[in-house]
Symmetry: C2
Subunit: 640 residues, 2 copies
């Protein structure tokens, strides 16, 4: 039933060979991979104003224009830098792979941790901002902000579990619709001003303009604005998602993306300055602007709707990037390897689920408040920018390809600038949440390192050297095998196991752990009735332990175990027909198995008796075979 429900939600499984067909071209690659960066138009400018306005009032608008110009400059530096990366790393992995290959394992872990944190925050911030847009236009939804946001994450999760291509088509068209809406807003807003339109004057604190513009204030606003650049790396991370020629497609998408951001982020920033919009409790910046420019007609709702949807798509960017990043990290043994397994629909199911779960936690903890979440955002992504470009710089110095000095200069300059931005964000936003990330990333690196060491150690222990292959001795009788069958009762299950053991081995012992004298005697009586020479050993366990007496017996002189012998512990059990019935039977077998398998001379075998369906039993009872009364009268003397 559960699996049928699952099938209904995420569709039929796909063959591994279907993987090739799931790739993206420019047309769909642009919306699905760049919507994170594009959508930041909806919050980056607004969050700058939210920092500046309460402190310096109407002066905020002038400062915002300056800061926006800086941020756009930074954007083009990043794009130039990442286009070089795409050329060198057509198999994807972005900052993580670049840092790891050129700077070493630990910087790779830092980049991976930073990117992972960034993706999670992309989901939390984008979804929260999307909900904010909607509640700005439809106030009655406001009380349901948090559940609404969580429901959206769940929908995204299900959509992505259904597979990559379906997602891109489903989510592609509205991204273009948003871009069109924003252009319309910027163009019509400019025409309206040119036509002599006088915007409503904002209701600002008249004392505020007298306050001075402090450096810290500007840095805080700049840090908020830098969130406009998150998502740029998604394209270079996801090069393998593109159709061939993948690098060319990816580079084109990255350039298109930069141009669109320039026009939209720049345009809306200038417009917000002209219209003197005051975002906050009364609504989101874009929605307030749309109201002022278009009035509450069709275009107002169009802007609200498309902005909402592009923000959902931005979250979806993370759904494309995060599982891929984790899978790449997992292949480098920086994360549990289950995270690199593709699910039924060829998407990385585990990564998708982890991303959703952590985002939901963040949204719940921060009550889906964008201004509160923004403090955590951008630190991670700028750390990864810095490491990625440092890595590229080191790479150029090493490879000395054609034009390497020029290329190294671009990446080196990028590394220095983004490194400075990391410090700015970490310090300016420290008390507003960036401390969480500053603490979290080293913790993640510690864990990643633990995982890495374990996998390396495991590999070293499993690996067979070339000269060893032929040396393993497959001849018979190089050691002796013995079987112990732990039995709880003499019943069809344990007798079946004893017979099987007797057949495959000449050295079989039946073993019983008794809690009291009576039950031990009853068992010995029943066992004696069997026509077998298998010896029965009974041990008492006053503390009701099961495994310890067995291990003690094995190492005792009584059992005469010789170093090198193998012991198979063959466990009789019962296997219920239906899954829920498992809770009616003790899981002793699994518990014992886990304990015994710590010992290298012990092999554990399971041989359960498969039960028939209960209905078959009820039927035989109802057919009056006389079992009922007998069974009922013996209720107290259960045998299993």
């Amino acid at each position: 039933m559960f699996s049928r429900f699952r099938r209904f939600l995420i569709g039929k499984p796909l063959k591994s060979s279907a993987l090739k067909g799931e790739k993206l071209g420019i047309l769909w690659g642009l919306p699905i991979l760049s919507s994170d960066a594009i959508s930041s138009v909806a919050y980056a400018g607004q969050e700058m104003l939210i920092v500046l306005l309460p402190a310096i009032g109407v002066l905020a608008f002038g400062q915002m224009t300056i800061l926006s110009a800086c941020i756009i400059g930074l954007l083009f530096l990043l794009v130039a830098s990442y286009r070089q990366t795409i050329d060198c790393y057509p198999t994807g992995g972005g900052a993580f792979i670049v840092a790891k290959e050129n700077l070493g394992a630990i910087p790779g872990m830092v980049a991976g941790a930073a990117l992972a944190v960034d993706y999670i925050l992309t989901v939390a911030v984008s979804i929260s901002s999307g909900v904010e847009q909607v509640t700005s236009a439809f106030g009655f939804i406001k009380p349901y902000t948090v559940p609404f946001a969580i429901a959206l994450v769940v929908l995204l999760m299900l959509g992505n579990l259904r597979g990559i291509r379906e997602s891109s088509k489903l989510f592609g068209i509205p991204a273009y619709a948003f871009i069109f809406g924003m252009f319309a807003l910027v163009i019509y807003g400019t025409i309206k001003l040119a036509g002599g339109y006088q915007p409503t004057a904002p209701d600002l604190d008249p004392v505020a303009p007298l306050k001075t513009i402090t450096i810290l204030l500007m840095l805080k606003a700049f840090a908020s604005g830098c969130t406009a650049l998150t998502g740029v790396e998604a394209v270079s991370n996801a090069v393998p998602n593109f159709r061939d020629p993948a690098t060319k497609h990816a580079k084109t998408v990255l350039l298109l993306l930069a141009i669109i951001i320039l026009l939209l982020f720049g345009g809306t920033s200038v417009l917000a300055t002209q219209y003197q919009v005051v975002p906050g409790d009364n609504g989101a910046m874009l929605i307030l602007m749309a109201k002022e420019i278009f009035g509450q007609g069709f275009m107002y709702y169009y802007i609200t709707g498309t902005t909402f949807i592009i923000l959902i798509l931005a979250a979806n960017t993370a759904y494309a990037g995060f599982p891929m990043l984790i899978a790449v990290m997992s292949k480098e043994r920086f994360a549990p390897k289950q995270l690199s397994h593709r699910g039924d629909k060829l998407s990385f199911d585990n990564g998708i689920i982890v991303l959703s779960a952590v985002s939901i936690l963040l949204i719940a903890a921060f009550r889906a408040n964008v201004s509160h979440l923004i403090g955590l955002y951008a630190v991670g992504v700028f750390i990864s920018f810095t490491l990625s470009q440092s890595g590229m710089f080191v790479r150029w110095r090493r490879t000395r390809e054609r034009n390497w000095k020029w290329k190294a200069a671009i990446n080196g300059f990028g590394a220095v600038i983004t490194g400075i931005v990391v410090l700015i964000i970490a310090v300016a936003k420290f008390t507003e949440g960036s401390w969480i990330v500053v603490v979290l990333i080293p913790m993640l690196v510690f864990l990643i390192n633990k995982v890495y060491i374990h996998y390396m150690a495991t590999q070293a222990q499993l690996k067979i050297n070339e000269d060893e292959f032929a040396k393993f001795d497959f001849s018979k009788k190089s050691y002796i095998n013995r079987i112990i069958v732990p039995i709880e009762h003499v019943n069809r299950s344990s007798v079946r196991a004893l017979r099987y053991a007797n057949m495959i081995c000449d050295n079989v012992t039946a073993f019983h752990v008794a809690m009291d004298e009576e039950s031990a005697k009853a068992l010995q009586r029943d066992f004696a009735k069997l026509n077998t020479t298998i010896p029965l050993v009974v041990k008492f366990s006053p503390y009701r332990k099961v495994v310890d007496p067995l291990l003690r017996f094995i190492s005792s002189a009584e059992y005469d175990y010789k170093e090198g012998d193998m012991i198979t512990v063959l466990m009789p059990d019962i296997e219920p027909r239906r899954r829920w019935q498992n809770i009616l039977h003790s899981r002793t077998r699994l518990y014992v198995e886990r304990k015994l398998l710590k010992h290298k001379h012990i092999v554990v075998s399971a041989m359960p008796l498969q039960l028939r369906d209960d209905k078959a039993f009820l039927k035989s009872v109802n057919q009056g075979k006389g079992h009922t009364k007998e069974a009922k009268s013996k209720e107290g003397k259960s045998k299993h």
Copy 2:
């Protein structure tokens, strides 16, 4: 680390033989088993007033006296009845056993379900009421009502996991302190009135007295008051907890209990009438009375403290009774048998944990509000009273012992009266919560019946008839054994398994499920290097399934499986040194095992390679054995 923490919380394990020493005498048996009934003084009367006062104002006090008298009459009927039960059932089990033995399996299930529900509500109501007493005296705690209540349940759980006798001594003395405090309250309150003291007149709605006293109103108040009688059955359920002569001790405790309730419940009811106390938002009845009678001095805080503690003890009654009931039901195969296993401290750990978990859920759902919880209470216990006494009635008619007619009359009369009370409570409180219990009990009975049938069917399938024991054929070669070793890679783990398989069996096949051509070829190349004649079978699985290809291979002509042969599937695996490392390895083995064990011709064996600690690996690397560089350069080609 976890197990050490657990040890710190619940103490050292006890031997099974220590069970005898954990029994109770009258001195400790009275407080630990009767505190439920005694403590209802704190809420039964108060909840009657809360029903009556808003409807009929000052008239409520007169009606309450009448209803209290009825309830005390009912109490003595129950005590007479249960004393007869204790005589007949010295091994305990109370209503459940009596109903099951005399009325049949289904009435037994109903009684068991009803009692279980009652115990859970005892915890929820008593703890909530205890917290209410404290918040009446210390208002600043009120905002923390729910977390406070939950913390108390957790403390009780830990206390009970530590074992029976420790609990009784820990909880025994304050129960006597409460009884003393209540006597002091009743006596000094009466003296004060006799001395001419004029109580503060209550601030009651002057219109209310004009309203009529409806039958439904009286029944609702009566239903609330009946909660005073919950807990009476605890004594007869727990007869085996008493020191020998157990029945005599139990009967004495039951009688003492009834006398104490008569004095306390009767006394406080009369006193509340005289002092015209109005419980509700301004505080609990007992605390308001104590304030009026003693003033806010020592005795006021003494009453608050001891009332609080007796209510906690009442919850503890359920901790003594519920796990015992569940264990008895479990022995009758009416509940999962794990619930009848004693833990390290000889208490029934699982029952204790279930009781705590469900009570916490109830407390959280009803915000620890006694008046809301009370609607669910008492239905369950009166159902069990009715079934228990009906069972006794049937029993007397069957056994026809000396004086059977007189005894049957007592039980029969009790059954009729308590049956009527069930109807009264269910109907009068239907909309106030009793519907939940009315729905829940049939659902529980349905589940219990499912469990019962499964155990009966299992037993029938496991049981060996006397004439069959000697007939089992233990001779060699009655069938053939074959081994399949599923391998993922050729590494030390799989080679070890192959060698072992080769040694114990002449028919071994290595089996590989390949996801793609490349990895299949790499595996075949490695396998060919081994000096063995074991055949390797490779199957492709486009849907990345593991078990299906194996089962298909087994049933294919290629494998030549013959009906009756046994197949051992020997699974190589790795066993990490530390527990957390398990999450770094896929649990494929357990998954495959679960699927394969559905087939009766398959035995599953596990033979993991035990890994060394990662630190040993790091050390060997640091000692410069040259492993590091080699390992690092081959990162991409993991073998496991």
